[in-house]
Symmetry: D3
Subunit: 223 residues, 6 copies
């Protein structure tokens, strides 16, 4: 697949699929631990868009002193982002500061990045909302990371929101939650997901027409 084809696929996934369907398909393929914890949500509670892209990972660690260059690795990580990428910032559970803000968001847009997922706090909510840049985080906290946390690596495996994310995995994030599709099963997952969505459409029609749930289940075996 060319880069453009990949990005076109992400757009189609974002437009037509649901994370619940992605999760069901991953379940059926034996990948039953691919959804991040439920406290990572879009910055905008009214967000209805879906963020899909290739994981570009960053690994965070604590630090307890002020240094001359507190952002070096984070800056390098952002400048290395490729078009079609979704930044995945793994905080290791640090809650004392924000890991993301508005200027970083502008920088990612400049690199062609599609959005950011953090298992920690962001800041600059109002400016991020104005910008319309997709950020999924555990909430907002104004503290800067300088003297509180630091990026120590990027492009490495990380655990974010409880799920192992390898560079190259595909992130599917929406208001319901965030699934990590392992690189090796992206194609199969997408194909099966489109099939399941079609079946659910037929089940829904019958339920709306008044059918009992037991009948619909027996007919379509989807819920």
């Amino acid at each position: 697949m060319t880069n453009d084809e990949r990005i076109a696929l992400y757009d189609r996934m974002a437009g037509e699929l649901y994370v619940a369907v992605i999760s069901d398909i991953l379940d059926s393929l034996g990948f039953r631990h691919q959804v991040m914890e439920a406290n990572i949500k879009p910055v905008d509670p009214a967000e209805r868009r879906v963020l899909v892209g290739r994981a570009h990972t960053v690994l965070m660690a604590p630090i307890y002193e002020l240094t001359e260059e507190p952002y070096t690795v984070q800056i390098a990580a952002i400048d290395a982002l490729q078009p079609g990428d979704v930044g995945v910032e793994a905080t290791g559970g640090i809650t004392g500061n924000a890991f993301w803000g508005e200027l970083f968001s502008n920088a990612v847009l400049g690199r062609g990045g599609r959005g950011i997922v953090i298992d920690g706090y962001h800041r600059d909510t109002r400016k991020i909302l104005e910008l319309g840049f997709p950020v999924f985080s555990t909430g907002a906290r104004p503290y800067d990371l300088a003297g509180r946390a630091q990026a120590i690596d990027f492009g490495c495996p990380v655990i974010c929101g409880g799920v192992l994310v390898n560079p190259g995995d595909v992130i599917f994030a929406e208001v319901d939650g965030i699934a990590v599709v392992p690189g090796v099963v992206v194609e199969e997952t997408v194909r099966l997901a489109f099939e399941k969505v079609a079946k659910e459409d037929r089940a829904r029609d019958e339920l709306r027409a008044g059918a009992l749930l037991s009948e619909v289940w027996n007919r379509y075996r989807v819920l």
Copy 2:
């Protein structure tokens, strides 16, 4: 009361009362533990509607293997729902999966159900919001319940959100929280609640006109 009268009463309660007033009246009658925990919220954070109806309970339990028929009791529970009912799904604190989704919501609508309260996760947020079906839950998580949880009984007493709910109790759910009105005091609670709302209207008018809170409290004894 006929079924239609009951439903008309629920509609009037939903239109004119507040859960804070319901809770105050229950307090005054000696029922001081009738409000569910604060983490059960409407799926739509901008929800202003009130959900009122008769509790139709479902009891959940863990399961750790995939079975042929993972939804049997849940389906039977939904198909047994009566017009005017609110489904109350008691999860026992299971957070590993969603207990509710869009197809279930369509099925409840088909049975005349008014909405759903779960002390656990739902999924299919976007479709539930389109449908406009009232779901109160602890948030969204995409994992299906198959191989993770199971309904084991319905129509039985449950503890949901920390409150004992007996079938036939009345659920009053809004953005502020969810009260469970025990069957035996529904009429008394409703009557006293309408009286309190009237008093609060007069207190509010005086406060807006600049009265000191101490004066208003001494006059109306409501806050």
Copy 3:
């Protein structure tokens, strides 16, 4: 500064500053623990306004019996509020009831108060939203405080949301979080905050024009 000048300053801060900038400036002055915990949020999740004012503190404690006059100290505290004040209710971690509601909000408006910050629950969400009164809390719970909690002092130092608040400190609250600016550094903080905002505007412009983050950081040293 006259009272009117003070209020005009609060309005200008609310209109042009951000809590992240306030926090960064406080950090740079050596005040690194001035932001409340992240679970205190505006009642309206779509709130974009900023609440700025002088802290008027109230200290809460538990109580486990019903008394004749459950609101005495709370009422006195509200009636003592001055124009330009923000009420700061310190609950000590009590989660069993609401500490704030709609009638209290009307009373504060009548005294010229600007808003309320509580490290506990409020109630009457729907009426507070109609009123447009700024309340920051940890969420909604309908239980009244009578027989559950009591105000025991006001105008005293409190810890609210993990931060020591002295009467006279300035509260800066928005959707990102809530900073407490110690009385002695208000002027310096405000001056430096306006300077930082200007620098960030220039950095943002360059990022949007496609500059690498490393270049922008080296040029402006703000993030």
Copy 4:
């Protein structure tokens, strides 16, 4: 009952009963919420003694400034203790300091008190163990309460460890946990508890002799 008879009864209860039996009897009488949370434990993890006595309650609240007389109400509460009493300190969930220490323990011994139950931290573990004074707490933390917490009342109803304790209730505390026997059912509870212990002795003998659990359950209906 004379005071001496009461104390003799407490001694006999401590010597021959178990909190699990007390809890089962309270369950059977319809009092199903009489056991404190599981994190209140004897200071000595190897403690095998049982503490029984009449509840003498103290109510705590936060405070955030240093005062001239930080211990006034606490001291009055201890000096008011009667022989046969167990102090019950209700902290309201404050975890920032210790509520109990060695000098207080010596003072209670001087008044004829039998021990102390706190739903918060103690300090002076080593000296309390030397003294052999029964203290049940949530653990040890060295911080003094001055400027952190204060007693605000005593001899009033409190919630300690999640259970409502009225003055005059009987506390039964051991390594398994702490039951609160409401004043009105003390006699009935004690009588039934002694009966249940006798039945369990017979069931145990048969199980040790190799009987199946199903047989023993059918014969004695105790577990």
Copy 5:
């Protein structure tokens, strides 16, 4: 392997191995999630014995009403225990009651069971300690399970302490924690564990003789 050989192997493992070594070997075989959560501990904090045996699983669920026969499945599960078995009670996170007590312990001893692991509370601490029966739990709470929880299945896969346990897996439990050795790798794990213990003995000798840690690590590659 005969049953006696199996039990002899469990005894040898209990006498000579450590759960840290078992965990390291499982790590090296790619099984990196086989240790239960850290809050499951021996009832006796001074316990130095190791419990090893074949997992006999029980699945728990909530219940909120009193029934005639609250213990039926639990009793059947215990009566079905085989010599060499370790009971594994999966509570699904229920903390409102004890799942184990002294009479159950006597019953297990009568069936040749070696001990019990519960991710929930036990009761009857004093009697269990007298009996010397190995129980690993999250602590003690006196409430009986009747009307609070129920066994609903046994001999099925369960998640206990966060780890999937299949019937036939081997449990290795000691004061450090509890490992679950999947049935298919028991032999390999045991063999490699004995080898690692021998290497550690040599490393320890050199460290005690004053060697630098870096030298010892380079020589033995064990820590």
Copy 6:
């Protein structure tokens, strides 16, 4: 002070002082946040010894892949320990593995270290207890840190158990908790602590002789 004098002072502090007294003196000097969180306890729950020494800090971070040399910085940190030092391992809240074990303990003994404080898990409880080496941790968990966590720095400021620890601060750890005495006030703290202990001895004598607590407080002003 020579090194030997320093170590002699630590020994005298360990023999005659209490962490509650150290904390009270630090409070009185304006250092009110010097005691670590209450969940860091001696490995041996029956430990009565006190650990005093100079802080030698290590900073931990997450890692999610297996590397050739997972222990490099940790080994260097241990080999750099000086006689009289107490290792302080700051985990940043990582709970997925142990940070300390028996071989590390032997290595520290070989360097003249006095003990270890970790705000995370240890392993090898049984061997550490045999060795009698003082380890304070949040409990035991068998998982090795390889592929789960890594030391990234040592000899730097860290936050351990919620307290900022600078190299050269003095650690005072016992069963009650762990105080960090900032380098600049060590001498003053020690002098005042010995004075307070003497006063408490006199107060205790009077309480044991039956004096009221109010009298003793008025006389000595210590509690």
